[in-house]
Amino acid sequence: MENMSPVLLMQRHEIVEADLVLVRELGSHIEPRLAEYVEHLYAWMRQLPEYEEYFADPRRVERVQRAQVDYWRELFRGVIDESFMARRRATGEMHARIGLSLPTYFAAVDMSLTILVDRVLPEAALGDRKAAALRALTKIVHIDTAIVVEAYNRLTSEKLAGQARALLELSTPVTALWEDILLLPVIGIIDSRRAQDIMRSVLQRIAETRAKVFIMDISGVSVVDTAVANHLIKITKAMRLMGCECLLSGVSPAVAQTVIELGIDISSVNSRATMRDALEEGFRRVGIEVKRIGQ
């Protein structure tokens, strides 16, 4: 839709010239009374929980109210062209930037239509063409919402894609906790590529340090699919081959449940509930006893 022409967009929403004519006529009845609309809309908006957050500044309220009036004026011009689309995209991006949620946006559009039709539009306006006119209005509002939502989504997904890259680039900080004991807290997202990086760097460290115990804590990992589980199992086996036991810790209840339901055989994995449990086990394995002073 991003590159869709106004003509195609109108076709997709089945908007014909007659609809635009009806919407203009609707506008001639509504436009003189848009001030009333704003009053009703703000009576409703003021009771939204997010109202205070966005409208603490009265100048902002004024600015947004003006924009809302302009918005309906433009819509009632009954012209769907590039500039209409560009302005709607800008609105979507603006809402995404201020973090206004789409359900709230939808609710406000919904409420606006109700107010315009039930309270602002004179009863007798348009006579028997009223139903067709309201259908036409709804179609145009739908086009508009589609453009806003797409712009909103694009901005949000660009932001999220950036976060995903950042999470993947998290380093794998292997720490020597004790003689013979290494620790790796895995945080963020593991995909196949990152799992391979982890495997390479931990095996390297084990070769360098000749560690006997490796604690891998995955409390910072929320999703373990079959590919990641398979990598974890392989890492465990490779370590064992190098004379180092891998102790997995921090498996959340959600991860435990999904791994079991996926049907993964985890019998070769040595797991402890917490990093502390794993550390105690590690000390035991390398023959260290930790005691309270004076005991």
Binding site: L102, S157, V223
Partner: protein
């Protein structure tokens, strides 16, 4: 348009072109689910199933699309995930749904695992024209 309709229409579209899209799927889906008020363990279940389907698209069909919808049926809330590709299709779907069956030497637990993780599971595949898997989870 009512608010209810708007919520039912709420949709997340995830295009899958290569394996660098998998982490993006996780992050975007995570944000979508938390916006719907869905948290662990349900979010982990849905995300795991979705990643399995996304991984299959990358591995077997190269590219495809995943659509996620928030469902509402009376008081029941649910999530629907549809993974569609125009790849080679699956010759024997029953075999593909069997534990440990894999044509690529991996665990072969993706499809049967997804079926166990979700409430509804529907797969349509035609050799030569592609595969669509649709799954649903009703939030308990």
């Amino acid at each position: 348009m009512s608010l209810r309709d708007a919520e039912n229409r709420e949709l997340l579209v995830l295009r899958i072109d290569d394996d660098s899209d998998i982490p993006v799927v996780l992050v975007r889906l995570g944000a979508f689910l938390s916006a719907q008020g869905i948290c662990a363990p349900e979010s982990a279940r849905i995300a795991t199933a979705t990643v399995e389907l996304a991984t299959n698209i990358v591995k077997y069909a190269k590219r495809g699309v995943i659509r996620v919808r928030a469902l509402r049926l009376g008081h029941q809330r649910g999530i629907e995930v549809e993974a569609e590709d125009k790849g080679p299709g699956i010759a024997n779907v029953n075999l593909a749904l069997t534990d440990s069956y894999s044509t690529s030497g991996s665990l072969g637990l993706g499809l049967p695992g997804v079926r166990r993780l979700m409430d509804d599971f529907d797969i349509r595949s035609t050799v030569g024209s592609g595969t669509t898997v649709r799954i649903r989870r009703w939030i308990p």
